[in-house]
Structure formats: structure tokens, C-alpha cells
Assembly symmetry: C2
DNA sequence: TCAAAAGTGTTAGATTTACACCCATGA
DNA sequence: TCATGGGTGTAAATCTAACACTTTTGA
């Protein structure tokens, strides 16, 4: 006790970079900060870590509070701890990113919290070091999407190959060749074609696919 | 103020995974914990983050305290914050890894602190979640070494190609083909051959090379 | 003289990239 | 009937991986 107590305690918060994919663009949920300091500035959504709560827990709770969604794909981005990062007090913040399907986010709930989806390529200045957090989150997320099949978390359960391709284009910031892309998809047996057709995106209609997690676990050979 | 003060404060520490390369093996500095709880257990070296100190700063200070070394290559591994990770009190710890040349570490100083180099593949059980920290640090470090020329930080300024190859073999955990390895090195103009010969490793002697940082910045094409 | 590490090119196979046309349908 | 997005294969180029012998020298 004495050993600990000679040192200072600080506040620790979590900040969440919630990624969504809509209109062919990678987006992030941001809102106007409701409290001082920094009231009115664009900001990520965050919250304090409670005394009896782990960091991952705090992040999940915070995202659920905002979106009502559970069991999301979330990963830690890192700890941000410059002494002057918060203009009010010393607060160390642990950033997390989450992947959600924008359609799963209830519109009313979104408006209640006053947050909106903003194109990650055209973000305004954010409160404190939040732009840095988004930047690092993007890098990690991109790397993850290349090597693990988590991109599906940004799409509906059923999706077309064009949707999937657009997603990867948005994340990597470069166009992909349609034939090469589809060739690679065909090699991954856990991306299953269904009998269903989506007619919303074209007159002809496109086959809907789904990600089969079980099949992936049996033969996890993913690379994009 | 009131906004902050309704939340709990916690202790925040840093823990350092200090990597070295010796005897063909990747090693980590660990020592017996000198304080309760966990006195006597194998542990990483760490310290508390002071109120007026950033996280990176705290990590650098801690490593300097242990090794006397400055300006090391250091990167954050992440925040570890399970509520019960520290048996005494709630402490959130931010892990950092550092790369040092073992020859730069003064032996007397090492003994004074009672730490030793241990093969990263044969670590004992460590205090709290320190094994996890090492594991994550290794992953990040390996990824970094593949894509950026930072491996040199684990070697003397002048090194032979065999030394460099052994380093990469130790980090990646697999043997490399000598000819292919040297072919790749030759393509990178910032790895410069000097006129000097090292006779310590063989009768014939091997050319010594050096990393030219300036040349790298002008044409940063690294891949191993 | 021989053991031990240094140094050096070529080739087959695998992977990656570039590229253009027909199809089905609703408006 | 035509505009729109869906769907399909091949060939060249590049990259990767496998492989063995000669050199130097101190012991």
C-alpha cells in the first residue's frame, strides 16, 4: 500500500473510433462534445473507466451506451497520455476501434446522441488528440482487414461481391481489379454464395454471399 | 472539474520489454521483483507514471533508470487493464518495448539492478500479465522489423551480414537462405559495406556493414 | 592440411498484374 | 433498345524459393 500510495493517481478514459461503411465510403461516428472543456467541438465518443471495470469492458460499455450494440468486433488502438492532451485535467485515454454495420444502428438512437457518420477522409479538426487516434485506428484496422476476415463486420450478413470490393477499396484507398478480386474470393471457401439475389443495386441483380465463420475456422486461409 | 471528479482515479504504470540480441538468440531483460505484492517473482522492469509526465516519457525514464541508455528505439505495445491484473491494487499498465545493443549495457549496472537477459523462447512464468505483454511486444516488434530498418538497433554499429541474418532468423523463428538474404541486402543501398573486416567470427574474416540512416531517408525501400 | 565460416548466380515455380467483352434486366 | 452493373479467363511479368561449390586462413 505504502509503495503504491507514494505515487499519483490519474483519470483514465476510453475513446471509441466506430467505423462504418456507407455510400462506398469508410465513415466514423463523431459528435459535438457536450461538456467542458471543449464543449461544442467535434469529438469521438468516450467515457471514464470505472474502478471495478477492465479496459475492454469499459470500451464495450461505452459503445453499447452509444449504439445499443453488443458483441462487436473491437480492438485496442493504444494509450494516449501526453500531459496536456486534455485541457482540463490530466486524463490518460485508451482508444479502441469498433466495426459496425451502419444499418444496425438505430437512427433514432443516433440522433438522440447527436452523433453522425463522417467520411474518414474528410474529418474536421477533432477535440484534443482525437485525430491522431483515428489515424492510428485506421492503420491498425487496415492491417487487420488485410490479414483477417473481419471486413464482413462492416457489411450486412448478406452482401454482394461488388459491395465487398467497394469496402476494400475504401479501406485501402485504391481501386481493385474486379476480375482479380473475384478470383481471390473464389479461392476462399468460407465466403459462400447463396441462392439469393440482390436486385437493389442493378437491374440484372447480383448474387448475395455470406461469411461462414465455421468454415473459416476449419481452413483459415485469408489474404486480401 | 465536477465532471471529472465524479469518476475514480487509478494508478498507471509502464512496463518495459527490453529486447537484446546475443548468442544468436533474442533476449529480454527480466529480474526478480523487489517489492510486494509478488516479491521474488520474475518480472519486467517498470515504474509508475508521474502526474506531470507523458507516457512515452515515463517509459524512456524507466528504461534509462535501468540501463543508463538514452534515445533508444521504443514503441508502445498497449494498455493492460484487467481489474485484477495487479494483486495489490487497481493499476493499469502501459507496456513499451525497446531495442538495445546488449554490448551497450554496462554489466555492473545490470548486476546492480539484478536483471538478466533471458531467451525470449524460454521465459519463466512472469508476474501478473507480463508474459502476455512480452508476447504482444514480440508480435509488434517482428512486424516492425519486417517493414522498417530498425533491427540494426539490436546490433553494434558495425555488423557482419551473418550477424544480421542470425538476428532475423531469431526474430522470425525460421532459418533463411544465405544467398537469398544477401541478394536482398545488396538491393538496399543504405546498408553499406565498409572496408573493415571482422575476424572474430571466422578465420577468413567477414566484411563489416553499417546502416546509413541518411541514405535510407532518401530512398526508403526496405523489405525483409 | 583441414575445419569453419564467407562469399557468390541461376533456374523453375508461384504469384501478381493487366486487360475486354458478353449478359440480364428495368426503364 | 439501351444504359447499367454483373459476371467471366488468359497471358506476360514479376517475385520467390531452392540449390552447391570455391575461397580464405588459423589452428
Amino acid at each position: 500500500m505504502t509503495y503504491y500510495s507514494q505515487h499519483a493517481k490519474v483519470w483514465v478514459s476510453v475513446d471509441c473510433i466506430i467505423f462504418g461503411f456507407d455510400d462506398g465510403k469508410l465513415k466514423v461516428l463523431i459528435g459535438r462534445r457536450q461538456m467542458d472543456p471543449g464543449r461544442g467541438e467535434w469529438s469521438l465518443y468516450g467515457g471514464f473507466v470505472a474502478a471495478d471495470e477492465g479496459l475492454d469492458e469499459a470500451a464495450s460499455r461505452t459503445v453499447k451506451e452509444l449504439t445499443g450494440l453488443d458483441n462487436l468486433y473491437m480492438r485496442q488502438v493504444g494509450a494516449f497520455g501526453k500531459t496536456d492532451r486534455d485541457p482540463g485535467e490530466r486524463v490518460i485515454s485508451i482508444a479502441y476501434y469498433a466495426l459496425i454495420n451502419v444499418k444496425d444502428y438505430n437512427e433514432r438512437l443516433r440522433l438522440e446522441h447527436g452523433v453522425e457518420w463522417m467520411d474518414v477522409n474528410h474529418l474536421p479538426m477533432l477535440y484534443s488528440d482525437h485525430n491522431e487516434m483515428v489515424c492510428k485506428a485506421r492503420k491498425l484496422m487496415r492491417q487487420k482487414l488485410r490479414t483477417e476476415p473481419v471486413g464482413f463486420r462492416l457489411l450486412p450478413n448478406l452482401f454482394t461481391l461488388t459491395q465487398l470490393q467497394r469496402l476494400y477499396e475504401a479501406v485501402n484507398g485504391e481501386d481493385l481489379d474486379k476480375r482479380n478480386f473475384r478470383k481471390r474470393i473464389k479461392e476462399m471457401d468460407f465466403i459462400e454464395k447463396t441462392e439469393l439475389i440482390d436486385k437493389s443495386g442493378s437491374k440484372r441483380g447480383a448474387s448475395l454471399y455470406r461469411f461462414n465463420k465455421k468454415a473459416y475456422n476449419e481452413d483459415p486461409n485469408f489474404k486480401l
